[in-house]
């Protein structure tokens, strides 16, 4: 057991910190720090800055831009990125379809997609969930029927995040309705969002923003070569992909940033003639949250430090569950610090309410999603009870 990072890792952390805080445009990082939604252009610029420095897809195979880092290095890279309020490489590209194509795609697909995927020249979106297949993904209904050299896709997807910016979609479709096990008979297709027959409907969320969409497919013709991997193996690829999704889901760095901001705000707010930060109960609440976060960070470090051998550490399932709870606790803390000012959520010019207080409640409401998406906390508890406790 050793507490300190090796000198090499200390240097690595310093290198990451310096790069993220000096090379990524300040105005993009300010947008993230202010809990505003970055524009498409900002996402693209940030990822291309990272990619140019080989920091966009370090977990990919080396030949496609990977860095062959240890899990601990990847952890440091991600945490420093979040601490610096750098928008992370688009998950749909970097953590989802990229690794799937690298692992299961054919050579032509790799050459065609991976470089543009790493550089966000192609913006990918995800076509997995359906109105009647949320946590129960395997019961999806969207079909793809072979017709000559094409697949013809019909159906509907939902919760497609940032689909309005997307150039391409990777999609789970049912290609063998007769398979007796419903997980079988599912394939993964990729196709452009501007293909004839694809329509998109943005869904407004509680914070007034539009980040998820419904996507409808009506006789969308997809060339056969756009099938990823083998026919009817799509479920395996999806599991592989969702495994990657859990990586870094603890979001410790992002929550650290949130709490640091909350402490700053609590200094600025006056309550009973003194800074709110000096109220004993507020200080204790912050201390408890900081401590919970320390415990989570240490658990994340335990996981990455021990998962070098490949198989995930049992405690890894704790990260998503508690990570989402702490993100939500931090956003709630900010709302409570804003207090009466939190009402001015959509104020614009002519308001005396500081910007952080305006976005507090919309962010709080928006963050209710983090315990739902990417495997809800109920799914995480099921995994812990089943796979770890054998219940």
């Amino acid at each position: 057991m050793r507490l300190q990072l090796s000198p090499e890792l200390e240097a690595f952390r310093e290198e990451m910190r310096t790069f993220f805080t000096t090379q990524v445009p300040q105005e993009i990082r300010d947008t993230v720090a202010a809990h505003r939604h970055p524009t498409k252009a900002q996402y693209v610029e940030a990822q291309q800055v990272l990619n140019a420095a080989g920091l966009a897809v370090p977990h990919w195979p080396v030949e496609w831009g990977g860095r062959d880092w240890t899990p601990l290095q990847r952890h440091i890279w991600r945490e420093e990125m979040q601490l610096a309020s750098v928008p992370e490489p688009l998950a749909f590209n970097a953590s989802m379809i990229g690794p799937v194509i690298a692992a299961f795609g054919n050579q032509e697909q790799k050459e065609r997609f991976l470089p543009k995927t790493a550089n966000l020249d192609i913006w990918w979106c995800q076509g997995f969930s359906e109105p009647d297949a949320g946590s129960d993904l395997a019961s999806l209904r969207t079909t793809a029927v072979r017709d000559g050299d094409d697949w013809v896709v019909n159906g509907q997807k939902t919760w497609t995040t940032l689909g309005q910016y997307a150039d391409w979609i990777f999609c789970l479709v049912r290609t063998d309705p007769t398979a007796e096990k419903k997980q079988r008979g599912i394939s993964m297709l990729v196709f452009p969002m501007d293909s004839p027959g694809v329509t998109l409907r943005p869904i407004e969320l509680l914070d007034g923003g539009f980040e998820v969409n419904e996507v409808f497919f009506e006789d969308v013709r997809v060339p056969a070569e756009n099938l990823i991997g083998e026919e009817n193996r799509g479920w395996d690829y999806a599991k592989f992909l969702l495994g990657n999704e859990r990586v870094g889901i603890a979001r410790v760095g992002a929550t650290k940033r949130l709490i640091a901001q909350a402490k700053e705000h609590a200094q600025a707010i006056t309550s009973g003639g003194r800074p709110l930060a000096e109220d004993p109960r507020m200080a204790a609440r912050i201390a408890e949250l900081e401590n919970e976060l320390v415990a989570l960070e240490l658990t994340a470090l335990r996981v990455v430090a021990n998962s070098a051998d490949g198989k995930p550490h049992p405690a890894s399932s704790v990260l998503k569950l508690r990570g989402s709870e702490l993100q939500q606790a931090a956003t709630e803390l900010v709302v409570d610090i804003a207090g009466p000012l939190s009402l001015a959520s959509f104020a614009e010019d002519g308001s005396d309410v500081p910007d952080w207080a305006r976005v507090a409640t919309p962010s709080y409401l928006n963050y209710r999603k983090v315990s739902i998406y990417g495997g809800s906390n109920e799914v995480q508890r099921t995994i812990i009870a089943g796979s770890i406790l054998g219940l």
């Binding site: 949320g134 869904i203 939500q328 207090g339 009466p340 308001s351 409640t361 809800s376 906390n377």
Partner: protein
Amino acid sequence: MNFDYDSEQNDLREAVRGLLARAYSDSEQRRTVTKTDPGFDEKTWSRLAEMGLLGLPFAEEDGGMGAGPIEVAIVAEEIGRVLAPEPFIETVVLAGGLIAAVGTAEQKGELIGAISEGTTIAVFAHAEPGTRWTATAEGVTATQAGDGWTLTGVKEPVPSGARADVLVVSAAIDGGTGLFLVQGDAAGLTRTGYRTHDGTWAANVRLEGTPAVALGSGDRTAAIERALAEARIAYGHEAIGAMDTALRTTAEYLKTRKQFGVTLNKFQALTFRAADMYVSLELARSTALWASMVADAGGDVVAAADRARLQTSRAGRHIGKEAIQLHGGIGVTAEYSVGHYTSRLTAIDHLLGDGDWAADRLAATVADHETVDPLGAPYSS
């Protein structure tokens, strides 16, 4: 001691429920109304007036209905049930309540009737960017000017502050906080309205040497504290109505939504959490009903309001969060109803003091009593 509404009160509840059910039969209707200034439906406002609801707590000689806190609570709960965005509590309980409490006979004659008839919307401009749930004013100051006054400073956020015809403004005076009437078209008054997350509208109200008339005279901190307490109780009932719908919506969803081939109510971990929501709701309901009975009985309404606020705040957060989580993704969309209930409960929680704030006020009094007797002093006068 009893918790039952009498027949008139039951009739009132049915009437209000019917009116609001027609106005906001689904959450899309409300969404449309709240998207545009003033954020509520003037027609519905007139109907509330026609039903006499806007004059409910005021003395008949002032042009009111001479009803009491129980009736106000009934209306507030029905408003919460459908999240009706009309500024009932802001106009009737806060602004109207203050005018009725400290206004001159002339001021009452002029305004209470107009409020009751729905022709004048008055709101209480009290919150300031620099203060936090106090009964006093600091940021806005009043200066005597001849036989009138002028006000200078900023009030924000002021619910329905841009729409209001008349503002009741609290301002620092020598020796305390005074109350003043400011007309919507007064000189040196700048109002910037905006939509808030919960679908209501609020405003920044800037006063620059704005002419004002004193409402009553001298330090009115006590009257403000009392009006805020009455509003906390009314908001508590609005929250009860909202929680009730949020829970019923969630239970209905669990019964109908299928996952893994069965409806969600087959998952005990989910149904137990719904049961805990019910527990929170009923405990908060009891406290809210009690607080309005204390107000009705002339007991210590400020202390009772703090108790109701603490219980409602805890329940509102619990139920608001769980309602979304038990729904899943659809719960965070603006197109489905339940998330708006969470949003409104969050707004109510932060309007006039949240749970921790109320707990701190109660903490300062724990040493004053051996045990709390909700039927005894200071609650039952």
